[in-house]
């Protein structure tokens, strides 16, 4: 039994894992809107800052 069989099996399994991940990403609608997430990403800070500010005001 040659090691190459194991190597090939492993390499194909890894490739298939990535392929399924891609299919799942497409299915979940990740590629439907390629613009909004790029903007949304920048907002996380804004909300946190706001909450902190209000806390400061209250204290």
């Amino acid at each position: 039994m040659s090691v190459i069989y194991i190597l090939i099996t492993v390499s194909i399994i890894v490739a298939i894992v990535f392929f399924t991940l891609f299919i799942r990403a497409v299915k979940s609608g990740q590629y439907d809107d390629s613009y909004t997430p790029s903007v949304r990403m920048l907002f996380e800070d804004e909300l946190v800052k706001q909450e902190k500010q209000t806390k400061n005001k209250q204290s």
Partner: protein
């Protein structure tokens, strides 16, 4: 003082409202600011400058949302307590909008999440139905300036799932391509190596397994299309592609079974991958635009019916019957033909005719579907149901049921016919020749020719040229429906324009003032005087003057047919006809105008209508060199002289054209073998837009209204139409040039194939090389062509 509203950025008159050290143009904007400030959402104003939109009057407009049978149709998901709705909000325009809408739960506790899709301008709201209803959410959105647009179309359309097929196929082909390439690489150069000989059978069968989903799933569209083409006796580009894929696959299978060689699985998967990539590139559509609109996207879902006992009830538009009495509120659309019973009817037919000057109707007058009431509520009696009304009847014309794309032969399809025949002849001839020289090789040569001739580069050049140009034009606010439109544009020889709203301004912004500038106080006086008048021109002028101060005149009199006179603290203002306003001889305008004098001193006039768009004259002069020009107007011929003077000689002018006569005019021209481009805007052009070879809708606001068409053009860019047409022609030339290039590759490949020397490695090099160089070639050329627009 120059100032802009803190909320909406509109220019503020001197009478602006100051609140919290910020300036607002109106109470509406101030209220929105207060809502945000109270709920700690004022960050909205930090992300972008003046991001807001002024909220509009919506009283009673969304009452239909309380009816379960109506709102349930608008929901994406409903399990009794949790409901999800996707709302289309045209006013989404910046990152502040996204931020605010996604924090909607701060404003209403029933909302658990809101997700914005910016390109589509939709927000998907998940909320708890026990705590709040869809109507509450819609009202909340409207109150902060994000009024959702809900039309009859949302009601009748079943929600369509997004078609992600091409992405799956691309994924499959890409996955197989990468792995097959890796597995076939060792055999390219090392032929008699010990290790390779031991494992090559394994490698080959893995490659075979991976190519199966590529051939039978990813490439399935090509087989279907080729089959359809053959069945209608038409050799489209997919025929040689499908043939190439099949020959590649079966010859490769044959080779690995007989142990002749490694086969062409690498080229096969690569070919499919590149082809799909081209398709994906061309498929870019404008999500936020709809090219298939009919009256349904203009009409409301619910309408208020007045019962015999004077109770009001919301009913579904399709349930309106002849004889019903319905209530139309301010800013609501009349969905059916009927007779006005009572109320102050001032109907804006701009959706129908493009003409925005309101029409005053008396009780007993007939009202047509498609008009928008602009002053107070009216009651009307229904004469015809929705589907039988005058406007909606247009859609029962056959032209709306035929598919325009059918029967259109693209340049690729035209060429592929000759290409396919030539390839088959070459294959046959060389097959026969080899049969006499070396019979064993004949089969090899024939399949090699079919493989190498598979028109990958040919099939890619048009999608990439068109796809790239669609993108370039889209950036310049000219949105084409698909690539075929660009090709059809290149063939146009006749251009027909609608008049009102297309070559003239359709909106109220067309008002211009001529004369001595009015001071702020004088404007306030003027606006307050206009408030008392119901004349359509007064209403229009009233809307265009921004001021919030309310004054009550000491004296006011309206003289029918002449104008009005009012006094404020000793200042006397006269508004109306020139002879009424001043006794002096002033230059009278041939255009519709309202004249103003203050304290018997003539000030100036506001001009209406006839405001032709900028650059129209130049556009017509440019176009007249190469195209036959026609103007089809639904209006009377009062403009005839002005138009003949302005436009180049030979421009045909037709007036008093009804919607169906416009359609017939276009089809008559087509029968005379003309390729017609129709440029229009209103619903009355819808038939002509559909019938013409290419219909371009002009839109003041590309996000909101436009009838079914092939392209939507921003009203600001109408004057660039000749450039767009020129680009369409260059596109065809670019495609032709790239065809020549791909033929050269084919000839090189064929020389290998005919001489019987096509090895897998040559095929694997030639196939991607030709594809990539073609794509680079057309991308560079289209970008150069796009430079004309600057």
């Amino acid at each position: 003082m120059e100032s802009h509203c803190y909320h909406c950025g509109n220019h503020c008159e001197d009478t602006s409202i100051v609140h919290d050290d910020k300036i607002f143009c109106c109470n509406g904007c101030k209220t929105v600011y207060e809502i945000f400030a109270e709920n700690e959402l004022s960050c909205y104003y930090d992300l972008e400058q003046t991001p807001g939109t002024t909220p509009k009057e919506i009283e009673g407009k969304f009452d239909f949302l309380t009816k379960p049978e109506i709102y349930e149709k608008l929901l994406d998901f409903n399990d009794g307590s949790v409901q999800i709705a996707t709302l289309y909000i045209p006013s989404i325009h910046c990152s502040s909008c996204i931020w605010l809408l996604e924090n909607l739960q701060k404003l209403n506790k029933s909302i658990s999440s809101a997700i914005v899709n910016f390109p589509k301008k939709t927000v998907r709201v998940t909320y708890n139905a026990n705590e709040g209803s869809l109507k509450d959410i819609v009202l909340l959105l409207s109150s902060i300036g994000y009024e959702p647009y809900i039309s009859l179309e949302d009601y009748t359309n079943t929600k369509k799932g997004i078609n992600r097929d091409i992405l799956y196929k691309l994924g499959v082909a890409g996955f197989a391509f990468g792995n097959v390439m890796l597995l076939s690489f060792p055999e390219y150069f090392e032929v008699d190596e010990y290790w390779l000989n031991q494992y090559k059978t394994l490698f080959r069968w893995i490659m075979f397994a991976m190519s199966l989903p590529v051939v039978f799933y990813a490439a399935s569209d090509y087989f279907v299309s080729a089959y359809k083409g053959l069945r209608s006796k038409f050799l489209n580009i997919d025929v040689p592609i499908a043939l190439g894929i099949l020959v590649l696959f079966f010859r490769s299978v044959f080779e690995i079974i007989m142990d002749h060689g490694q086969g062409f699985f690498d080229s096969l998967t690569g070919l499919v991958f590149f082809l799909l990539l081209g398709k994906f590139f061309q498929q870019k559509t404008y999500n936020f635009l709809s090219f298939e609109r009919d009256y349904k996207s203009y009409f409301p879902i619910g309408i208020t019916k007045v019962n015999a006992d004077h109770t009001e009830e919301t009913i579904q538009v399709y349930d309106i019957q002849k004889g019903d009495r319905i209530l139309i509120r301010n800013q609501e659309l009349i969905p059916v033909d009927g007779i006005l019973i009572n109320g102050d009817a001032q109907i804006d037919y701009s959706f129908v005719t493009g003409e925005s000057e309101t029409v005053v109707k008396q009780s007993g007058d007939k009202l047509f579907a498609g008009g928008k009431q602009t002053s107070g509520a009216i009651e009307m009696e229904v004469l015809k149901s929705v589907s039988q009304s005058y406007l909606t009847q247009l859609w029962s014309n056959d032209v709306f049921n035929t598919n325009k794309e059918e029967g259109f032969k693209s340049i690729t399809d035209t060429i592929s016919k000759y290409f396919t025949i030539a390839i088959l002849l070459v294959a046959l001839a060389s097959g026969l020749t080899w049969y006499f020289i070396e019979p064993a090789k004949a089969w090899n040569v024939v399949t090699a020719i079919l493989i190498i001739a598979c028109p990958c580069a040919l099939a890619l050049s048009a999608p990439f040229t068109m796809g790239n140009l669609l993108r370039i034009l889209g950036k310049k606010k000219c949105y084409l429906k698909n690539a075929d439109v660009l090709e059809k544009l290149a063939k146009i020889d006749t251009v027909i324009f609608d008049k009102t709203g297309t070559i003239t301004h359709g909106n109220k912004g067309a008002l211009t003032y001529e004369g001595i500038p009015l001071s702020a106080e004088e404007k306030i006086i003027l606006k307050n005087t206009l408030r008392n008048s119901n004349h359509p021109l007064s209403r229009q002028l009233y809307d265009s003057i921004k001021s919030t101060t309310v004054l009550t005149p000491d004296a006011f009199e309206e003289i029918a047919g002449k104008g009005m006179i009012a006094t404020y603290d000793g200042t006397e203002i006269k508004v109306g006809a020139p002879s009424f306003v001043t006794s002096n001889n002033i230059e009278k305008s041939t255009k519709t105008a309202v004249y103003i004098s203050i304290n018997n001193q003539y000030k100036g006039k506001y001009l209406f209508k006839n405001a032709y768009r900028q650059g129209i004259e130049e556009l017509f002069n440019n176009l007249s060199k190469n195209y036959k020009l026609v103007i089809l107007s639904g209006d009377n011929d009062s403009e005839k002289e002005a138009l003949t003077e302005m436009l180049p000689k030979g421009t045909e002018l037709h007036f008093n054209q009804k919607p169906d006569s416009k359609l017939n005019f276009v089809s008559q021209l087509q029968q005379q073998k003309h390729n017609v481009l129709m440029v229009g805007d209103g619903l009355n052009d819808a038939g002509a837009l559909k019938q013409s070879d290419v219909g371009i809708a002009i839109a003041e606001n590309v996000n909101v209204f436009s009838p079914a068409c092939d392209a939507i053009l921003d009203a600001l860019n109408v004057s660039k139409l000749s450039v767009y047409l020129h680009i369409a022609k260059s596109a065809i030339n670019i495609i032709k040039a790239s065809f020549i290039l791909s033929f050269i590759y084919n000839i090189i490949g064929l020389s290998f194939a005919i001489s019987g020397n096509l090895s897998p490695v040559i095929a694997a090099i030639l196939m991607p090389l030709s594809s990539i160089s073609i794509v680079t070639f057309v991308t560079i050329l289209t970008n150069i062509a796009g430079k004309q627009l600057k």
